[in-house]
Symmetry: C2
Subunit: 441 residues, 2 copies
């Protein structure tokens, strides 16, 4: 056992995990869920569907931590070995539980099927020292095996490998572990702050400076992806039993957030989904405005992202993927002379695309994106990753406010496209959030 | 050690893996790569950035298998513990390698930076018993530590955790392991067959029947996702040393493939990337034809997918995301009366979108997609998941051939959109592959 709190070992079972046919998403999910409960994961183990390996995994894991979560191998077929192997590892017997048999019969009746086969009846087994956890999402119940001693209790918990079922069972697992380990848990609270438009290498030192003296007990993690960097602030709820501990933890997070305010100015956005589209769509909906998009190098990626969210029809008028120059001319009214003189990847064309989309699609707000996504097509003046982006919104006095900028995005075709679409969204966000900031072209 | 062949243990290092901030994709990738090399993974272990845990992981892993691959924790910062911990576990010293120092200096010079800091100089360390593997994609070299004895050799291989770098280094690892373990490897050969338009539940029993007597030594795995089901055929190269073994294995796969021909008719496609867009784009390019898309519920997803591939400008004219009905009318010439009488989700509108896209965008081939992606908007007649799809291509005698069909796709908004776009591509594929199959409307 490491540290003073309770730690856990996560064991995932399945040949398909070892062979790489399946990526182990359960392990990551359990890591987050257990951390939230106050039980950090000590280490993780993945084994195949072999009894001896599962037995060894459970025994060595219990040597290291009092909580062992095992997922996978709980189904009704012969290669589902977890149930008997864990029983063997702990020297516990499995018995058929009449209540579980009855549940199983009900499930089969509801599906219009007959009496359970011997294989299916395995799903009604539970440990003599332990209990079953009803599965709200499937046939295989979770199982809790008692381990350790009254003075030093341990629990080995078996959950199905089907992610949906594993997740549905977790609340019952949390309840069990809280009941057993109560005041030895070290719960933490998190707060996630979304940012975009600033690389981690710039953001991190500023955040670290801002938090240096403000909140010693708040840890910060940086979670970057192509669309931005999430900050995760974490602090412990201590002492766990204390009523006021949770409030004090929240106050510490508030303090850290306040200390970060100036650093985050202009790059922070709030969205439950973590998707900036949610934020911008909310601003548009609040004003009753429509969006239209004109995309070249992003090829519909921005429209696709926008419409991936339910309710997009309340804010999204439509879009044009203007891949060929003739489409830019014919549909968006980009003058052929402009295309000729400045090239398709230019400020003038981006602006013409954004304003052309507004007019052609009868929308208040328009975005135009034209660039070189690569891998080919780069020139010394406009290397791969060069993208011109224009955003047009209603301006003061019934006019328009249109802003354009040139981005230079690193990485492959996919990265350039994702970053360009995000930069366009970010500019639209800032123009909507600060309507009077400056007058446009 | 298990079995007669050589097995491996994969150890991934990083607190972010245990906390679930990152999903461990490296482990799955290495599982596939090692299996292809003839080294199945015995088990997998994930530990945090703590010396003692890494030392223990390496020692217990070597007790089980002669090959241990460790990824992560090779960077230049203080919490990168893998290099010294593995050296400690094996009782091997680390020395600075002049060649590695020179490489590092070159990298820094190329990036316009000065001499390496003490932290960066760690990247120039290599084991006294072992060697460094140059990293073609980053600064941290891979390291091979010799373990075991001349009679029973072992290797502990350290690779960076950055997926791109880990993958770039793997060929050098494969070479090393082949040199050491040669005739003890149990290589297998795979062949992947892509299908679309048939669910796994229909495909699997047909495939199993077709392969029942044809190829006892060929294993088949089904790898489904929202766009289709890949079949992976696997057979062993045995005996590994034998010159003819690889040919015999290939012949077995040929036999299995031949036995599957009738089952796969109309649903199989060939694409190195596994993406049906590659196949269809190839057919269009061969004829010198252009594609135009008109999307409603998929919101640009098909255009986005098409343009995600380099070279899309040779086949893709452009697209319209016709979200609002007015856009369908104004830009695609879908008659208002048709929209009124039949509704936006109807055969007539899909056909008008497909042919309207061809005309408006001056393209030979057009696709129209209109449907109810959900979660709202369903009706008893047209429940969530209802999608009308039309595809129009040049027909015989200078006319057009246009086909439309109604799909009903299960799942959430994302699933409906992905499956509808794929179904449209599949129909276009079949119409291009079998131009004379039937006359269209």
């Amino acid at each position: 056992m490491t540290g003073s709190g309770v730690r856990a070992v996560v064991v995932t079972v399945g040949e398909e995990l070892l062979s790489g046919a399946t990526v182990d998403g359960n392990a990551a999910w359990l890591g987050r869920a257990l951390a939230g409960l106050g039980i950090p994961v000590d280490h993780r183990l993945t084994v195949g569907d072999r009894d001896d390996d599962i037995v060894r995994a459970v025994r060595t894991s219990l040597d290291r931590a009092p909580v062992v979560l095992v997922t996978g191998g709980l189904g009704p077929t012969a290669d589902d070995r977890t149930r008997p192997a864990v029983a063997r590892a702990l020297g516990v017997d499995l018995v058929e539980d009449p209540l579980l048999v009855e549940r199983l019969r009900e499930r089969l009746r509801a599906a219009g099927r007959g009496a359970p086969t011997p294989g299916l009846r395995r799903l009604a087994l539970r440990p003599t020292a332990g209990r079953a956890l009803p599965n709200p999402a499937g046939a295989a119940p979770g199982l809790v095996f008692d381990a350790g001693s009254p003075d030093a209790p341990g629990r080995v918990v078996l959950l199905p490998g089907v992610p949906r079922e594993m997740r549905a069972l977790f609340p019952a697992v949390a309840q069990e572990l809280r009941a057993v380990f109560g005041d030895r848990l070290r719960p933490v609270v998190n707060r996630v702050i979304h940012t975009t438009g600033i690389p981690e290498s710039e953001l991190a030192p500023r955040v670290d400076r801002a938090l240096a003296d403000a909140a010693a007990e708040v840890e910060v993690a940086f979670l970057p992806d192509l669309t931005g960097v999430d900050l995760r602030l974490t602090t412990a709820v201590e002492p766990p039993g204390d009523e006021g501990a949770r409030e004090r933890a929240a106050a510490r997070l508030d303090g850290a957030e306040a200390a970060l305010a100036s650093v985050l100015d202009g790059v922070r956005f709030e969205a439950a989904s973590g998707d900036l589209v949610e934020t911008v769509a909310g601003l548009l909906e609040g004003r009753g405005w429509w969006l239209a998009t004109a995309e070249s190098c992003t090829g519909g990626l921005l429209a696709q992202r926008w419409t991936a969210r339910a309710g997009a029809s309340r804010t999204f008028r439509g879009g044009v993927v203007a891949y060929a120059n003739e489409v830019k001319e014919g549909w968006l009214g980009v003058p052929a002379a402009v295309l000729e003189a400045q090239g398709a990847v230019s400020e003038a064309v981006a602006v013409a695309m954004a304003t052309g989309a507004c007019q052609a699609l009868d929308a208040e707000c328009g975005v135009g994106i034209t660039g070189v996504a690569g891998p080919g097509g780069g020139t010394p003046d406009k290397p791969v990753g060069t993208v011109w982006i224009a955003v047009s919104v209603p301006g003061p006095g019934g006019g328009r406010r249109t802003e354009a900028f040139r981005g230079q995005y690193p990485g492959d075709r996919e990265a350039v496209r994702v970053m360009a679409a995000q930069a366009a969204l970010h500019r639209l966000f800032r123009m909507l959030a600060a309507p009077s900031e400056e007058a446009g072209s």
